[in-house]
Symmetry: C2
Subunit: 471 residues, 2 copies
């Protein structure tokens, strides 16, 4: 018998795909999906289903069209369905007859749109269950994986640019939040391993997807945007196991009273009070973040740096003000920035001028050199007094050799002894590119003290989760 993993894998890695409802008209959803699959360089066969086009022998983007999913001779392992909701049960029946094992139902007009939609959703599921088809959706964007060359998203690349391959997976209940996450990742130069928008989650839910990603070799960190959880017990059980294996980060909207009320209106499901979610996430070893920005800050750190063994942070800076703001931000996230011991201070002053402050932050001032950055960071790496380092090289200082400092930080980070994060001011394009390059080389680099501080807090939280006794 086939494993659940391989069933889920076909959503991300199908051999041959049918697009049911492929359209000739640019701008239509059924056309954008064809474009995106072509643009993603999907390596398998692409069968386009459109009865009218097939009758007239019309090709779409040079690809042959068929009247029904039953018509092609070859095997199809994933159907992407974009026809109106009313026809979906019928189309699903044809998929059963063709023995298509997986279907992404992109179409909306189901549970989310009222009583008639609820009935249609049940009808569709009855057919699917009998025919043993696994369904992602309905009312969703489907899947995206740059490494696997699949892109079923009906938001065009022109408006929603796609990120390159990377180590972070993202699952989302909301399509528009999903699109924003992909654009954000692209613009920040952050890669994505696998992305799935699961919409109404009538069959495949967040739990199934997390379960699958737990064993996915391409994924180092799993993220999830949620408004409500349908099967709470299952979700927490899966999360507790998965989070011991790789970090699992959740953005749960509806944190406030007003937000909870809005969730009920939006999804039609009972949102539950936020405190219950907080407790459940804590029990499940889930790291909760508030925003998309915070998600990426924490994910980047977890994807590339070791978790913290405690919560003591040292700051090495070339700007005094930024050092202080970073200490403030660390305190906001309940991290400690202890005053270094006299012994450690003395050690630092052996190679640093007497007028440099070395209590924490270690303030290398505007006269900082690459050697001093390297010396301070490596001295702190060896010390037992601290568990992680945030370093703040202000690359816009005219005297600082940016390239040398970058190399020194990457080298220190490669020892993998303790996490090292960088905070800098992306004053110009050159610095912004340097920041992206550091990210590519495994050193998470952030644009504001706040971002670095919350990323460090994520590393501390995951360290705490890993130290928990296994149940």
């Amino acid at each position: 018998m086939e494993t659940i993993e391989s069933q889920v894998d076909r959503f991300f890695n199908p051999r041959n795909v049918a697009i049911i409802g492929a359209s000739r008209k640019p701008g239509k959803i059924g056309h954008i999906i064809v474009e995106q699959m072509v643009s993603a360089k999907f390596p398998g066969r692409l069968y386009l289903i459109n009865p009218k086009a097939a009758k007239q022998g019309i090709h779409i983007m040079g690809i042959k069209t068929y009247a029904s999913v039953k018509d092609p001779h070859g095997k199809i392992d994933l159907a992407i369905i974009v026809v109106p909701a009313k026809i979906v049960p019928l189309v699903m029946k044809e998929c059963v007859e063709k023995r298509v094992p997986n279907a992404i139902v992109v179409s909306g007009g189901f549970k989310e749109s009222g009583p008639e939609g609820v009935a249609l959703e049940e009808q569709m599921m009855e057919v699917a269950r009998k025919g043993k088809i696994r369904i992602l959706g309905p009312n969703c964007l489907g899947t995206f994986s740059p490494k696997n060359h699949i892109d079923t998203l009906f938001v065009p690349e022109r408006t929603t640019p796609r990120p390159g391959p990377g180590r972070i997976a993202f699952l989302t209940q909301s399509g528009s939040v999903g699109g924003a996450v992909l654009a954000f990742a692209h613009n920040e130069g952050i890669g994505i391993s696998k992305f799935a928008s699961f919409g109404n989650a009538v069959d495949m839910d967040e739990g199934d997807l997390i379960d699958y990603l737990e064993d996915d070799k391409d994924t180092a960190v799993t993220g999830l945007y949620l408004e409500s959880v349908s099967r709470g017990r299952k979700f927490i059980d899966i999360a507790r196991r998965a989070s011991k294996n790789k970090p699992f980060i959740v953005i749960k909207a509806g944190r406030s009273e007003a937000g909870t009320r809005a969730v009920s209106s939006h999804t039609g499901s009972l949102a539950g009070t936020d405190r219950i979610y907080d407790a459940a996430f804590e029990a499940g070893g889930i790291i909760r973040v508030k925003t998309i920005g915070e998600f990426f800050d924490v994910s980047l750190a977890l994807a590339f740096q070791p978790p913290m063994k405690g919560n003591r942070v040292a700051v090495v800076t070339s700007g005094g003000g930024f050092g202080i703001m970073t200490l403030d931000a660390l305190a906001d996230y309940e991290m400690e920035a202890p005053e270094l011991s006299p012994k450690l201070q003395k050690q630092l002053h052996q190679k640093l001028p007497y007028y440099y402050g070395v209590k924490n932050p270690v303030d290398l001032t505007g006269s900082a050199t690459a050697e001093q950055f390297s010396f301070a960071i490596n001295t702190l790496l060896k010390s037992k007094e601290i568990d992680g380092i945030i370093t703040i090289p202000l690359f816009m200082t005219p005297l600082l050799d940016a390239e040398q400092v970058t190399k020194a930080i990457i080298e220190a980070s490669n020892t993998r002894k303790k996490p090292i994060l960088v905070v800098t001011v992306p004053a110009n394009e050159e610095i912004r590119q340097r920041l992206h390059r550091m990210r590519l080389e495994g050193v998470p680099a952030y644009e504001l003290p706040l971002f670095g501080a919350r990323a460090m807090a994520g590393l501390a939280k995951y360290g705490e989760i890993l130290r928990r006794p296994t149940a």
Copy 2:
């Protein structure tokens, strides 16, 4: 007798300037300042003081050099001093003899660097007091005003790009934070009216500068970065008066215990506990923010939108998930997003489809049109149930006419009845430019729900400050 205002004004708007310590060598601080004054198109005379160059008859950037500030025939109303600290008292004496009324002392090596520096600073001040010279600095960047074509900053434009003219003024104790603020403003397309870095504030302090900016017609909002306040009573008295006239926003670093400790090391002054600052800022009608990003979010809103008369916000969105996240973020900033009354909901449903949620958020869904955005916003503008609107048009939705929606929002905002802020996802360059354009047209637009929420909270806070009885 000359007013204090016109004394201060010369730091931002001098007729003729002497740069004492102008250097021939590119990369040197004394050279960068010459470059920047030229690049800023300073319209007055520029006298470069460099004894060695003068002796050899050498020009710097085509400008004549003099051996002493006493040598030029013309009147000089501002001296920019970049010579080593030890020579500064001597140079200051020459300025007195030349009757130069204002001096920016860029040089470091004074109070901030130990006992010897303290003595030098006192020596310099003695000369200045006797000669009635007003001093900005020492250990500072000086001033920048694009409208007045002055730029005394020794950080080159290549690494620290300068913003264009605008309505926000910024004062800073820290030079590196100041440079970051300018770069941030430039990159976000935000304009600056006047900028001053006052360093050790041996004479001109934050209070004097705020006092001056209170009456500055080009400035709508004043910002300040502080690590410590030297003359607390004076500062609060000035702030209380100034804040009734225009909003006054402070980033005070050293909020945390660790941060406070670091401030003492960095500035050599007693930082005081943060609670005292909090109370003093509250008494002074000062809006306190945590970060540079928050400062600009709040400033943009205050520079262009009316303050709120209460704290009730309505959200009009084309993405359900973003509506919920915005409600959550508003709650984080103690703002209310009340459920709209049945009467108001009915009014909204008169022109909006029955399946659109209108409780708050008003969720126009992925089918949103420009007319619907306009109708919903204008209906809410007229309602007495809410004090401000955040609208979230997701411009990446293929069906939305971005240009029409932008026009509708700008038009509604021009009524100036209630504040309107925009949140959108800057998925691509086109949307990012649209966002900057909205900012230019007076509609503050933000990249994340959190940013819009904290900006709205700033408008509510300033409304509360304005409603306070005048002492």
